[in-house]
């Protein structure tokens, strides 16, 4: 792959955050948010980066102490982060981070 100048370039590594439909209006209608990363980052850092552009979305996922809301679940490769290292769980470029709300409710 090359750019117009003829110099070789590579796609910037990204981490993809996949959003449920109910949250997509808070991300400009996008279902996937791509965050550049050149190495492992924690889920907390990823959410910090997302909240820079989409502050209201950030508040829907975490409270003002930074804690993940009780009925918000975040999965990395099928594992819910609470069963890993919580928001300190690291995610690497190329991985997908999936946000799913709990089915709790009445």
């Amino acid at each position: 792959m090359s750019c117009a100048s003829g110099r070789q370039w590579w796609p910037v590594p990204e981490i993809l955050l996949l959003l449920p439909s109910v949250l997509q209006p808070l991300a400009g209608g996008q279902s996937v948010l791509a965050t550049p990363a050149d190495g492992p980052v924690t889920v907390a850092s990823l959410l910090d980066a997302v909240a820079v552009d989409y502050a209201v979305l950030g508040r829907r996922l975490r409270d003002e102490t930074g804690a993940l809301r009780r009925f918000v679940n975040i999965y990395i490769d099928g594992d819910e982060v609470r069963r890993l290292h919580g928001l300190d769980t690291e995610v690497v470029p190329g991985q997908e981070v999936l946000v799913i709300q709990s089915v709790a409710g009445g």
Binding site: R59, R60, T65, F71, G105
Partner: protein, 369 residues
């Protein structure tokens, strides 16, 4: 026609429920046009209708069980809603606390435009000077030495009532559980003011604080006179909450959540008695509002137009009065019915049915037909 808004006015009724907000407008308090649900699947425990500054701003506390709490506002009767990017209410980092629910939104007096107060869970009081778009935590109450001993009622630990006097220096707050607190310096410092209010459920039934006061309201005309609906007990103070005296005699039950006062007339207040502790339904399953016109010395049972049987309770903020003449009275039940009276409770009609549990009702006379 008595009670009719002028050609340039109409009535707004806002109903916050467990699963969304409904808004209604009416030219005459008889026929209502509804929109909603707004914020479907989020509970709306608090509403403020701010008619100052030549606009109608509806402020709502929104709480999604999944996505958390926020405060939103609309200046076009719900056609569009806004919320600040960083949130209207946000605990400072050093508190280590997070907002759980906004229980009260209280637009201040006409003479203090832009000032809006809020009461929240965890127990906290907030003040906005920009019409409710950004609030600042009241540090005096947050850092109060009693805080560690305040408890949670069944619905949570919250400041649910805020009253500010005409001067703006005296502020009364009620919390469950903790009781009534008063500030004489605009909210800088606070003292418990519960003398005479029973806390029968505690080892000492007359503590300085710890009472489960469900709602307080200020008399429209007599400075320093407040009314309180307690967890068992209905009270009045004539000395700015230095002492409280029972006014429950004549009521079928002294338990309930609602306390409303007339917008202009001294001595008039409304309660909705419930039988407790074991039942928590209208006495004998017969729903009625009770009104006093003599500051609690006597009570009149009002049930014309209400159903013969109603086993649902009415929560503390699920009732409201408007400022028309005669005043309108509105309340909703946990069974999703909303009743409205255009004659101060003499007669009611059911204006909404089968909604989710009604958590909050507010009504106002607004500009614009």
């Amino acid at each position: 026609m008595v009670g009719m808004a002028t050609a340039a006015e109409s009535y707004v009724l806002a109903i916050g429920t467990k699963k969304g907000l409904w808004l209604a407008t009416s030219p005459d308090r008889q026929e209502w046009s509804f929109t909603g649900p707004h914020f479907l699947m989020a509970e709306i425990p608090s509403i403020g209708i701010d008619t100052r500054e030549g606009r109608t701003r509806i402020l709502v506390g929104v709480r999604s069980p999944h996505w958390g709490p926020t405060v939103a506002h609309s200046d076009d009767l719900g056609a569009t809603w806004s919320e600040p990017e960083q949130g209207a209410i946000k605990f400072p980092e050093d508190t280590g606390a997070a907002l759980d629910r906004v229980w009260q939104i209280y637009p201040d007096a006409e003479s203090r435009p832009g000032v809006v107060w809020a009461g929240a869970e965890p127990i906290s009081v907030w003040k906005s000077t920009d019409g409710g778009e950004h609030f600042e935590l009241n540090r005096g109450l947050w850092d109060h030495p009693h805080r560690s001993e305040w408890g949670a009622g069944y619905g949570g630990a919250a400041a649910h009532s805020i009253l500010v006097d005409t001067v703006g220096e005296t502020v009364h707050v009620a919390m469950s559980t903790g009781g009534v607190y008063r500030s004489l310096d605009g909210g800088t410092s606070w003292e418990a003011r519960n003398k005479g209010i029973s806390a029968y459920f505690m080892p000492d039934p007359n503590p300085e604080f710890g009472q489960c006061v469900h709602k307080i309201a200020a008399d429209a005309a007599v400075e320093g006179r407040l009314y309180a609906q307690n967890h068992h007990g209905v009270y009045r103070t004539d000395d700015n909450a230095d002492s409280w005296n029972s006014i429950a005699e004549g009521l079928p039950a002294d338990f309930g959540f609602v306390m409303l006062t007339h917008p202009r007339r001294d001595g008039t207040a409304w309660v909705v008695p419930l039988k407790a502790d074991g039942e928590r339904i209208p006495p004998d399953g017969k729903l009625a509002v009770h009104r006093t016109d003599d500051a609690g010395n006597t009570w009149t049972r009002l049930s014309t137009g209400l159903p013969e049987h109603e086993y649902n309770s009415v929560l503390r903020d699920a009732a409201s009065v408007d400022t028309a003449e005669p005043a309108g009275l509105y309340f909703g039940t946990r069974g999703g019915a909303v009743y409205a009276s255009a004659d101060e409770g003499a007669t009611f009609r059911e204006v909404a049915s089968h909604l989710p549990d009604v958590l909050c009702v507010r009504a106002a006379v607004v500009a614009g037909a």
